[in-house]
C-alpha cells in the first residue's frame, strides 16, 4: 500500500504535460529559494534593529553616567533630559526608590532584585514593549541607571517587512512562474508543430517534412535529423514499392501467358499440333517463373545472411581457367572468343567455389549475350584484394544503368522486355558480398563493358599450405559442375558441355543475366 501510493503518484506525474511539469518544478524550487531568502532577510533585519537599539541605549547610559558622576544622592540629582525615543530612571539599590527620572517614569521600572543584580555589571532586560539596559553609576552611594527604549518602532518595521515578504513574495513567484510557463510553452511550440505535422506524414514519396524552427537550437537539430530520417525511409519505401511492382510484373506476365495458353488449349477443336505448341509454350513459362522464383529466393536468402558457404582456399588462376573452359564452346558457336589474360597469378582466395563460378558464369554469359568481340577474363591484384574482371568489346552500359546495374530487376534496356528479369547482376553482387567482397561495373575507355568481382586475397603463406591441403575439395568444379546441393546455386546453370543449345546462351542462362 505504502509502495503503491508513490507509484500511482509517479504515474500521474508522468501524465502531466511537460510544460506544466517544467513550470511546477521551477515553481517548487522558487518557493524554497524565496522562502529561505525571506526568512534570512527577516532574521538579519531583526538583528540589525536590536543592535541599533542597544547602541543607542549604551550611548544614553554613558551620557547620563557622565551627568551624574560623583554626585551625592542625598543632595538630589539633576532631572534627566528626554531624548528621542528613550527614557531613563535612576534607582537606589536598596529599597528600589526612584531618585531621578525622565518625565513620566516616576514608578520603578524593574524589581529591587533586578536592580541589585545590575550593581556589579550592566545587564539587558527585555520587557513586553521595551528593552531596558541596567548599569551601575558612580553616584554616592552607587545607584543603578536604567535606560530603556520602546520596541514599538522595531515591531512596526518588522511588521512592514513581513507584510512585504508574505504578499509581494507570492505575487512575484506567481509572475515568475507565469513567465516560466510562457517561455517553456514557446520553446516547446516547435515540438508541438512537429508532432502535429508528423501525424499527417504518410510515407508517400515527395511527402511532407517536419517544420523546422528559425532558431539554430537543439529542436532545430532534432527536426533536421528527423527530416533526414524521413527522406531515407521514403527512399527505402520507394525502392521497396518499385521492387514489388517489378516483381509482380515479372511474375504475373508469365502467369497471364500461362493461363491464356491453357485456356486456349482446353477449347474444343484444337488439333494435336496446336495442343503440343500450347503445352510447350506453357512449359516455357513455367521454366521462366521457376527461374525468377529461384533467383528471388536466392537473393532473399543472401540478403538475410543465410547463404551456406563452404569456403576453401582456391587459386584464382584455376577459378578463371574453369570458367573459360565452361564457356569456350558456347562462345565458339557464337563466333566469339574467350581470352584469358594475366596468366601466372599466384593469388588465392577463400571462397565457395561453386558460388563464385556461378557468379563469374553470369558475367561471362552477359558479355556473350550483350557484348561484342572477344570476351576478356582477367585478374587484377590490388593490395589485399583480387579483382576478377570480365570485359567485352560491345557498346558498353548505358550511363543511367551503371548507377543501378546491381539493383534487383534493373534493366539496361527497358525495350528488351521479356528476355530476362534483371536479376543476374544482383546475384553476382549478393555472392560477392557474401564472401566479404564487392562487385563493380564500368565502361572501358576503349568501349565495351567491364564488370568485376572483388574478393579479399588470402595471405601467401596460408594460401600455399591450405591450397595443397584443400586440393581435393576443389576437384568437383574443375572436373564437373557441382553436384546437387541444398540450396543449389540458382543461376546460371552452366551450359552442358555436350551439344550446347544452338542459340547460346541457353534461355535459362539468358533470363538471369544483365539486360
Amino acid at each position: 500500500m505504502s509502495a503503491a501510493l508513490p507509484e500511482t503518484l509517479d504515474r500521474r506525474w508522468q501524465k502531466v504535460p511537460f510544460r506544466a511539469r517544467l513550470t511546477l518544478g521551477f515553481a517548487g524550487a522558487m518557493v524554497i529559494l524565496f522562502g529561505g531568502l525571506a526568512l534570512l532577510l527577516h532574521v538579519l533585519v531583526e538583528h540589525s534593529l536590536d543592535q541599533q537599539i542597544d547602541r543607542s541605549l549604551q550611548t544614553r547610559a554613558v551620557d547620563i553616567g557622565t551627568l551624574v558622576d560623583g554626585r551625592r544622592v542625598r543632595d538630589g540629582l539633576p532631572s534627566l533630559p528626554d531624548s528621542g525615543g528613550t527614557f531613563a530612571q535612576i534607582l537606589e539599590p536598596h529599597g528600589g526608590r526612584v531618585v531621578a527620572e525622565t518625565s513620566g517614569h516616576e514608578r520603578p521600572l524593574v524589581s529591587v532584585a533586578q536592580v541589585r543584580s545590575a550593581l556589579i555589571q550592566p545587564r539587558l532586560i527585555n520587557q513586553r514593549s521595551a528593552r531596558l539596559r541596567l548599569s551601575p553609576v558612580n553616584t554616592r552611594p552607587r545607584t543603578v541607571l536604567i535606560v530603556g527604549s520602546s520596541l514599538d518602532q522595531r515591531a512596526h518595521t518588522l511588521t512592514i517587512l513581513s507584510d512585504l515578504l508574505f504578499v509581494g513574495g507570492p505575487a512575484l513567484l506567481l509572475l515568475t512562474c507565469l513567465a516560466g510557463y510562457i517561455l517553456a510553452a514557446r520553446a516547446l511550440a516547435p515540438v508541438e508543430k512537429m508532432s502535429a505535422q508528423a501525424a499527417r506524414i504518410s510515407g508517400a514519396p515527395g511527402g511532407k517534412r517536419l517544420p523546422i524552427p528559425q532558431a539554430h537550437d537543439e529542436i532545430r537539430r532534432l527536426g533536421d535529423t528527423l527530416n533526414d530520417l524521413l527522406t531515407r525511409v521514403e527512399e527505402a519505401l520507394a525502392r521497396e514499392r518499385s521492387f514489388v511492382a517489378d516483381a509482380s510484373h515479372e511474375l504475373r506476365t508469365p502467369l497471364a501467358v500461362l493461363k491464356l495458353e491453357l485456356e486456349f488449349a482446353l477449347r474444343a477443336g484444337a488439333n494435336p499440333a496446336e495442343l503440343q505448341g500450347r503445352v510447350r509454350s506453357a512449359a516455357e513459362e513455367v521454366d521462366r517463373l521457376t527461374k525468377i522464383a529461384e533467383d528471388l529466393l536466392f537473393i532473399a536468402r543472401v540478403d538475410g545472411g543465410r547463404l551456406p558457404l563452404e569456403r576453401h582456399p582456391a587459386s584464382v588462376e584455376e577459378l578463371l581457367d574453369a570458367v573459360v573452359e565452361r564457356f569456350d564452346t558456347p562462345a565458339r558457336l557464337l563466333g566469339r572468343r574467350l581470352v584469358r589474360e594475366g596468366a601466372g597469378t599466384r593469388a588465392h582466395v577463400s571462397v565457395d567455389v561453386s558460388w563464385i563460378t556461378q557468379a563469374l558464369g553470369n558475367l561471362v554469359s552477359n558479355a556473350l549475350r550483350y557484348g561484342d568481340g572477344a570476351v576478356n577474363v582477367a585478374v587484377l591484384e590490388r593490395g589485399s584484394e583480387v579483382e576478377l574482371h570480365v570485359c567485352d568489346h560491345g557498346p558498353g552500359f548505358d550511363q543511367a544503368f551503371l548507377s543501378c546495374a546491381f539493383e534487383r530487376f534493373a534493366r539496361a534496356d527497358p525495350a528488351r522486355a521479356g528476355v530476362g528479369a534483371g536479376l543476374g547482376l544482383s546475384i553476382v553482387r549478393a555472392v560477392a558480398e557474401a564472401h566479404g567482397g564487392s562487385a563493380g561495373a564500368r565502361n572501358r575507355a576503349g568501349g565495351g563493358a567491364d564488370v568485376w568481382i572483388s574478393l579479399p586475397r588470402l595471405r601467401e603463406g596460408t594460401a600455399a599450405g591450405a591450397a595443397g591441403a584443400a586440393a581435393p575439395a576443389q576437384s568437383p568444379w574443375t572436373a564437373s559442375p557441382p553436384g546437387p546441393r541444398s540450396p543449389s546455386p540458382p543461376s546460371p546453370s552452366p551450359p552442358s558441355p555436350s551439344p550446347p543449345s544452338p542459340s547460346p546462351p541457353s534461355p535459362t542462362t539468358g533470363r538471369t543475366v544483365r539486360q
Partner: protein, 218 residues
Amino acid sequence: MRVLVVEDEPKLASLLSEGLRRQGMAVDIAGDGPGALVAATATRYDCIVLDVMLPGIDGFEVCRRLRAQSVWSPMLMLTARDEIEDRVRGLDSGADDYLVKPFSSEELLARIRALVRRGGPPRPTRLVVGQVTLDPASREVWRNGEPLGLTAREFALLETFMRRPGEVLSRYELLEHVWDGAYENRSNVIEVYVGYLRDKLGREAIETVRGAGYRLTP
C-alpha cells in the same frame, strides 16, 4: 470492330490478338508506348487494351497523352499491380476499366464488349469551360491558370454546372445534384452558393435566367 493491343511481351500480345480475332475482331498490336500513340491517333479504335508496364513511356502516360489528344476510344488497362493506388491512378489518368494479370480470356472479352457498348463519347478527366478548368480527381479548380480555393459545396455546384455548360439548370435540379434530401426546397441556399461562385469566378460567369434557373456562361 477494331481493337488495339499495346503489350510489350510478344507471347502475351499474340495470345491476346488470337483470342480477340476468334471473336471476329480486327486486332492491331503495338509493342511500346510511342507505337501505341501513333497507332491510336491514326485510327479510331473501338477499344484499346493497354499494358501498364511498357518500355519507354508507361501505360498511365500513354493513356494521359491519348486523352489529351482527344482520343476517346474505350481503354482497358492490363496490369500486374493490383494495389488500390495503382488502380486509382490508372482510372484517373483516363482509363475506363482495369484488369489484373493473370486474367481469364472470358473476362477480358466480356469487359471489352461492355466497354464497346458504352462507346467513346468525349469524357475528359478534367472539365474545361471557357477560362475555368476543374479536375474532379484532385478536386482543384483553375481560372486562367490561377488555382481557386473552393469549399466542397461550391466545388460540387460548379462541377454540376460544368458538366452541362450552356444549359439552364433549374433550382430544383441543382438542389437535387448538390444537396441531399434533407434540404428544404424553399431555402435560398442556391442563391447564396451561386453568389459565392460568382464572387470567385466573376459576376458574369453564372447567368440568372429569370423564371428558369441558372446557366454557366461558356
